[in-house]
């Protein structure tokens, strides 16, 4: 492989150009690696703040044409047998008008089993006054969001009138106030399952079953298994397509911008290589006289740009990963994002491998043009006597 011998010697002889070319590509790659680590980190953080806490992994609905899931206890037992399921919460949801001292507000009443619902939605984390447990202790009790409490001007211990057309009017005692930092705090009120059943005058039915798995990426698998039990189930990706959409658009535009930076840096290599081809015209002619074929001349120069690309890629990935890990471990002492005081960088091996391969390929392609110019030189003119 004398081509590699020549290519490497060219690179080591032009040490300064080589170093600057590698640095230029390296810095661009560092930026890409670093930003990828931020992207993955924030995505992860976003998932753990939303998918992992605020939304169920899988939502099970009544069969086609039905308003309710009737034999929900059997269904829950079956779902419980599915691998990876760690929480199941049956819900009965109904609309209601809450009234307290002349103020009223339309709300959604969600009848829950407190323990079960906490295992899927971690509601106990959001309580700011009172407790969810009291829902099961005292009948006809309610937990409201802080925004709703403010609207109705109610406090713990107050009794709200709940009514709705075709429902049995009832009184609900406020036993807790929660804050989930979402708009639901104004419209969602929690009661026990039996309270909503009485209110809607139904028994032994639910409207929805929420399920949590041990890993959000298994949601699809779990929902497909529930489908086979005869109930339509959908994973969080189906019920919240906008999350995936947003991340995809952001990730794509990010990758395009940074990919362009790498391409620009590679243009630097192209121009260095052109200069080197011009400098080495006589040498190329002499190599041809010694019996180096055009294809091999081409190979020598493509190798040079590929090697520069590979070195730049490796350097950049290393620097980018180091920078991300350093910044990720740094405690800023203030909240960078809701509830976290360090930037959540995630450095993934597969990102590094893809970035290095991408840089290598770009530079390989970039080298083709100057290399083909070199290979098309006519030996007589290249040696250029007289």
């Amino acid at each position: 492989m004398y081509e590699l011998f020549i290519a490497l010697r060219h690179l080591t002889s032009r040490r300064r150009q080589t170093i600057f070319s590698v640095l230029a590509v390296g810095l661009a790659v560092m930026l890409l690696m670093w930003s990828q680590a931020v992207m993955v980190g924030f995505t992860d953080e976003m998932y753990s703040k939303t998918v992992d806490t605020m939304m169920p992994h899988v939502t099970v609905e009544p069969q086609e044409g039905e308003d309710y899931i009737h034999l929900y206890r059997n269904l829950i037992e079956d779902i419980n047998k599915i691998d990876g399921v760690i929480g199941i919460s049956p819900l009965l949801v109904g609309a209601a008008t809450f009234e307290y001292k002349g103020k009223n507000k339309n709300v959604v009443m969600r009848g829950i089993r407190v323990e079960d619902h906490d295992s899927v939605m971690f509601i106990n984390d959001n309580i700011i006054e009172g407790s969810f447990r009291d829902l099961e202790v005292s009948p006809n009790s309610v937990v409201v969001g802080d925004a709703l409490a403010e609207k109705l001007d109610v406090e713990i211990g107050d009794t709200i009138d709940a009514s709705f057309p075709e429902a049995n009017p009832t009184n609900l005692k406020v036993v807790g106030i929660y804050n989930s930092r979402t708009p639901m705090d104004e419209t969602l009120a929690f009661t026990s399952l039996s309270t909503v059943q009485d209110f809607l005058d139904v028994s032994n039915v639910v409207t929805t079953i929420l399920v949590r798995g041990d890993d959000r990426e298994r949601a699809q698998e779990i929902s497909e298994e529930i489908d086979t039990l005869g109930y339509p189930a959908s994973g969080w990706k189906e019920t919240n397509p906008e999350i995936i959409q947003t991340l995809k658009i952001e990730g794509t535009s990010n990758a395009i911008t940074l990919g362009l930076i790498i391409i620009i840096a590679s243009f630097g290599i192209v121009s260095t290589l052109f200069m080197s081809v011009m400098e080495k015209t006589k040498e190329i002619g002499m190599l041809m006289a010694m019996g180096v074929s055009r294809r091999s001349i081409m190979r020598i120069f493509v190798m040079e740009s590929s090697i520069l690309g590979l070195l730049g890629g490796l350097l950049g990935v290393t620097l980018g990963a180091a920078l991300a890990l350093y910044m990720g471990s740094y405690d800023y002492g203030f909240e960078v994002m809701a509830g976290i005081s360090s930037i959540p960088f995630v450095v993934r091996i597969q990102d590094a491998v893809i970035i290095v391969l991408f840089t290598f390929l770009i530079n390989l392609i970039a080298g083709i043009y100057p290399a083909s110019r070199a290979s098309k030189l006519k030996p007589v003119e290249a040696i250029g006597r007289d």
Binding site: R9, A289, R294, V380
Partner: protein
């Protein structure tokens, strides 16, 4: 057609230029035997270098044929031409044209490496060759660390290392003083006798030409004189 001719040139014509055409070679015919040590002379612009480039298959003719060892090189593919240049031909130019990034030994190794010879073996053969041209103690020097005469010796070692049957020199001593020039001539002559290789040298130097076996005079792209010099052993 005799088998003894290593080079047979027939009706060779080379026309340069677009618009104004210049006939650099005009219907040249020439036969050269194995082991000949010959000189091509002529005023500048007479077509000597063009003829040499044709024999060295560095360029293609406008018409005519060149047979090297019985094979028509004008019909070869780029790959075949490269292989032929590597194995059958050795080039020595006025300026040494060594690869500046490689030391003397590596420069001489290069034709062997291109030929696919193993690195260790190439190193052995190349150092023997460098010793033969009297540079056994300069192997690790780069071209910019050697004198003009030394570099030319390295270039000669490189031209001969693959044991080519034909060695082509375009004013190989044109850039050297007369003493260095004599040394180079003696070296080429000795190698010619030892290995029975064919040498074709373009030169302006009448003194040097007189010492060859055969001299060809070119004028306006035509051979006007072809003389034996009686130096044959």
């Amino acid at each position: 057609m005799s088998e003894k001719y290593i080079i047979q040139i027939k009706n060779l014509t080379k026309i340069f230029g677009d618009g104004v055409e210049i006939k650099a070679l005009d219907d040249v015919g020439l036969n050269i035997e194995q082991g000949e040590f010959m000189a091509i002379m002529g005023p500048s612009g007479s077509g000597k270098s063009t003829l040499l480039n044709q024999i060295g298959i560095l360029d293609t003719p406008t018409s005519g044929t060149i047979l090297l060892d019985g094979v028509d090189v004008t019909k070869m593919s780029d790959k075949q031409r490269s292989v032929t240049r590597n194995k059958q031909l050795g080039f020595i130019f006025q300026y040494h044209h060594l690869l500046p990034d490689f030391n003397a030994l590596e420069n001489v190794m290069m034709p062997l490496l291109i030929n696919g010879v193993k690195r260790s073996e190439a190193r052995k053969t190349a150092s023997k060759m460098l010793e033969e041209v009297g540079l056994g103690d300069r192997m690790k020097h780069r071209p910019n660390q050697l004198s003009g005469g030394q570099n030319q010796r390295v270039a000669i070692a490189r031209a001969l290392v693959n044991k080519p049957s034909i060695v082509i020199g375009d004013e190989p001593t044109g850039n050297l003083d007369s003493k260095a020039s004599d040394n180079i001539y003696e070296l080429l002559r000795r190698l010619n006798r030892e290995h029975n290789q064919t040498f074709i040298l373009v030169t302006h130097d009448k003194r040097m030409a007189a010492k060859t076996d055969r001299t060809i005079q070119l004028v306006d792209g035509k051979i006007c004189e072809d003389s034996r010099n009686g130096n044959d052993d």
